[in-house]
């Protein structure tokens, strides 16, 4: 933060009145947080930190960003907390309506397609939310769907989203995708290794990203159901 006070030549910048400045109400705010999802052969993991911040302050240390949608699907939402809450409410409502009309729960792929149209319905005034859905598909295999704020989406094997995403994604590319490694056996990921990797990756993120920390909430989705685990992270 101190770097901005000094100009290019090393001297302190001079501040002077440069004329009237228009301030407008911004409907958005950035509340931080990182989410991550990994898909395995018969499981999926969705993890998020639990810090809720705004500017220089921390509003809460216990505000997880993963939300359970159905028995086989969990969504992680980071960005603007207000939009995250409203979006999850709308998704829950649509899931209920689908269940009542069709007498079955929505599959992960269907939820992803529905979320894409919900987000695009706000193309001109977007939900400021970065979503990642993790769950099991119809065949019982792990599935991860990642979105941008206006609804473009695709199925992945692993994805990091939120404030530390640019730090975590290359690490996942290396450890899960075996990118940039020569002569390494491509072993499939089992559940224990995946959970340990997620913990390690978040510990690294908390070291270097100010908006990530406090605690880590991990949701493990298997055909038996959804298991939750909480792990402490750096609180500074």
């Amino acid at each position: 933060m101190f770097a901005q006070v000094y100009g290019d030549n090393g001297k302190m910048k001079e501040y002077h009145y440069s004329g009237p400045v228009e301030h407008r109400f911004s409907p958005y705010s950035f509340n931080g947080g990182t989410v991550l999802a990994v898909a395995g052969e018969d499981f999926a993991i969705v993890a998020s930190d639990t810090r809720l911040s705004e500017g220089y302050s921390i509003h809460s240390r216990d505000s997880p960003k993963c939300y359970k949608l159905t028995n086989t699907t969990v969504i992680g939402c980071s960005g603007f907390h207000g939009d995250c809450l409203t979006l999850t409410k709308i998704i829950d409502a649509r899931l209920k309506m689908y269940k009542h009309s069709n007498n079955k729960s929505m599959t992960s792929g269907a939820i992803a397609a529905m979320l894409s149209t919900i987000l695009y319905g706000r193309r001109f005034f977007p939900y400021y939310v970065y979503n990642i859905i993790g769950g099991l598909d119809e065949e019982g295999k792990g599935a991860v769907y990642s979105f941008d704020p206006v609804g473009s989406y695709q199925r992945d094997t692993y994805k990091a989203g939120g404030s530390a995403s640019a730090m975590l994604q290359p690490l996942l590319d290396n450890q899960i995708g075996f990118k940039n490694m020569e002569g390494v056996q491509h072993l499939p990921l089992n559940q224990e290794k995946a959970v340990q990797l997620v913990k390690d990756v978040f510990i690294s993120a908390a070291e270097r990203d100010v908006y990530t920390g406090d605690a880590l909430r991990i949701c493990i989705v298997t055909k038996e159901g959804i298991k939750e685990e909480t792990v402490p992270l750096r609180k500074d």
Partner: protein, 267 residues
């Protein structure tokens, strides 16, 4: 229920009314979808003005190179697979070709969400056309449907450059449609930020009587050289060939390997 109006759900009664009674004469029953718009602000400039205030930075997935050309044995379509959000590469394996039906393909460049949404809607309209008219929609009509959708939202900041490729009664078809509702029929198009590089490669190697293998190689080279020079294109080359009996997916090759192969031939 509190959020019923904004949830985007259409009740059964409303849908029945549209299908049976009131919807006569509607070719496109798109009036279903309403888009929320920020009050009192120009939509296309709104997002830009919100960014950078208090750490808010809404980056949408963008950027591409796609190309398509007609030749004696059909149409070749080649696309890259990078989706960037600002300067971050959001995806290395984005799918930029939508398989509308076995005889129609659509490519996507520009804003990923706009392309995915409107081309998926186009796929729905093509399917409805087939059910209503008992014959497949022509490439000309499909591209016109997409063009009219874009015209409805002209000036609101949509970003889409797409090529509709197909084979119908009139033979192979290639149309370019963009967010300004431009619609052009042609023999060769390239879209996206890497398009200038792809045009250069295609123009220098194109002959109407190429063999199929030569055409595949031209498509691959066009994308590879474009990704080599354009920062916002990269990933893998997805190559499709539109033939008389439908399209086939030819290959999916990593650009870094291809550029090494071409470099060896260059020196």
């Amino acid at each position: 229920m509190a959020l019923f109006d904004v949830s985007g759900y259409k009740s059964h009664a409303g849908l029945r009314g549209q299908i049976l009674g009131t919807g006569v004469g509607h070719l496109v029953d798109r009036p279903n979808q309403e888009f929320a718009v920020p009050v009192g602000v120009d939509p296309s400039g709104f997002l830009k003005s919100c960014s950078r205030e208090g750490g808010v930075s809404i980056d949408l997935n963008h950027g591409t190179t796609t190309l398509a050309f007609k030749f004696r044995h059909g149409v070749i379509v080649a696309v890259d697979s990078r989706a960037s959000a600002g300067s971050y590469i959001a995806s290395k394996e984005a799918n930029k070709v939508i398989e509308i039906n076995p005889y129609l393909l659509g490519t996507m460049s520009g804003s990923a969400a706009d392309c995915q949404y409107w081309e998926r809607l186009l796929a729905k309209e093509c399917r409805l056309y087939k059910l209503r008219n008992k014959q497949r929609i022509s490439v000309s009509a499909a591209s016109k449907l997409l063009c009219n959708m874009m015209l409805g939202y002209r000036g609101m900041g949509l970003s889409m450059g797409s090529m509709i490729v197909g084979w119908d009664n009139k033979g192979p078809g290639l149309y370019y449609v963009d967010d300004n509702a431009t619609r052009l029929s042609g023999r060769m198009f390239s879209t996206g930020c890497g398009s200038s590089y792809a045009y250069g490669v295609m123009d220098s190697g194109y002959r109407e009587d190429m063999t199929v293998e030569e055409a595949y190689e031209l498509g691959r080279r066009g994308i590879t050289h474009a990704t080599h020079r354009d920062a916002y294109s990269g990933g893998v080359v997805n190559l499709y060939h539109m033939q008389e009996d439908g399209w086939i997916k030819v290959c999916k090759e990593d650009v870094s390997e291809l550029i090494h192969r071409y470099r060896k031939g260059m020196f």
